[in-house]
Amino acid sequence: MKSSNPTVLLRPRTTQDKSSTEIPAMIRNSLWLTITFAMLALSPLCRAQSPGVQTTREPTKTTLVTGLPGFKDDSTGSLVVEKGNLQFVQSKNAIEIPVPSIIDVVTGSDTQRVIRGKVGTVSMFGPYGSGRFLSLFRSNLDTLTIQYRDGDGGLHGVIFTMGVGKAELLKQQLIAQGARTTITTESSVRHKMSKPSEATEQNP
């Protein structure tokens, strides 16, 4: 039995065809090479852009532990660093803290029970120690502690909790916009180091 596929039969192999396939392959290879070089050349620029200078202003979902006037403890809301202000927005209320008035930003970590709220409280009294067993399941949290001075010079302290890894990003955004910190991070050191070099560049 012969093959019944007509397309295979209509495409005879020639030397001319072989060379014609080699040329696009060369172009393709050279194109890949160019892209690779371009990416390598641009990679230092990508590294130079520190996360502190990121322009993403997505609100971070947070829980206020204590400290903000006009808000109840353990109220949830979102934090945004925008136009030199740290905004905490709840459903109806909102408060703005000017970033230059922030004298200390510190991040930390904590844990909380996975099953919490009313269900969590009820589950604490579960039979045969099941409540205690459920307390073993905990999720990690980041804490963001801020100290700032109001218009009269009075010192305020605020504590927020948020998802893992978000506090450090917020801290870097705040430092980039002029907030101060007592515990320096790698990025803030880099930011500080970049400032004098900019100053020297400006000097004649």
């Binding site: 532990v65 204590t66 400290g67 200390d104 510190v106 930390g108 904590d110 844990t111 909380q112 029970r113 604490m124 409540g131 205690r132 067993f133 307390s135 073993l136 905990r138 804490t143 502690t145 100290q147 001075r149 109001d150 009269d152 010079g153 009075g154 010192l155 305020h156 302290g157 605020v158 504590i159």
Partner: protein, 176 residues
Amino acid sequence: MRNLFRAAILACLVSPMCLGGSVSRDQKKASQARPTGIEVEMVQFDEIKLPTEFQVAIYENLIRQLQENGRFENVYRDGDRNATEHPDTIVLHCTVTGFKQGSERARQVTTVAGATSMIVHCRFTDANGRALLERDIQGKVRFFGGNLKATYDFAKKAAGVAREVSIEQSPRTASL
């Protein structure tokens, strides 16, 4: 007749003493005035390692408890310029001298382990820096709540102690 005479003499002797006592008590009351305002300074810690969130939570809870207490008309924060306008404002200095961070997980699982406790030395001074009252106050959380609840426990006790503070004024001021 003799008894009446004796009673009259006794009354003459006793009445000045009673009057004198009440006068001296009034003078004492007048010399001890109640401060109308309190300035809370930021919590300090020397030899121990205290996480910043605890430092801030102590400070904020202390201010809230003093405001809710109602003992003071004005509660000023650290560095508030309005505090200097009132000379009868007292200052509260807090220094954490002992701190043991427990574990909420250990508390919930075992009930007996994982307590968080702290000892804070509280010093109330007048505007001139003269000490009025000094006391060590403990804050702890043993069963329910997060570690920061120990700061609430301390603040509540400290606000209670603040009620005892009174300014001893100079006799000249007291007489006025």
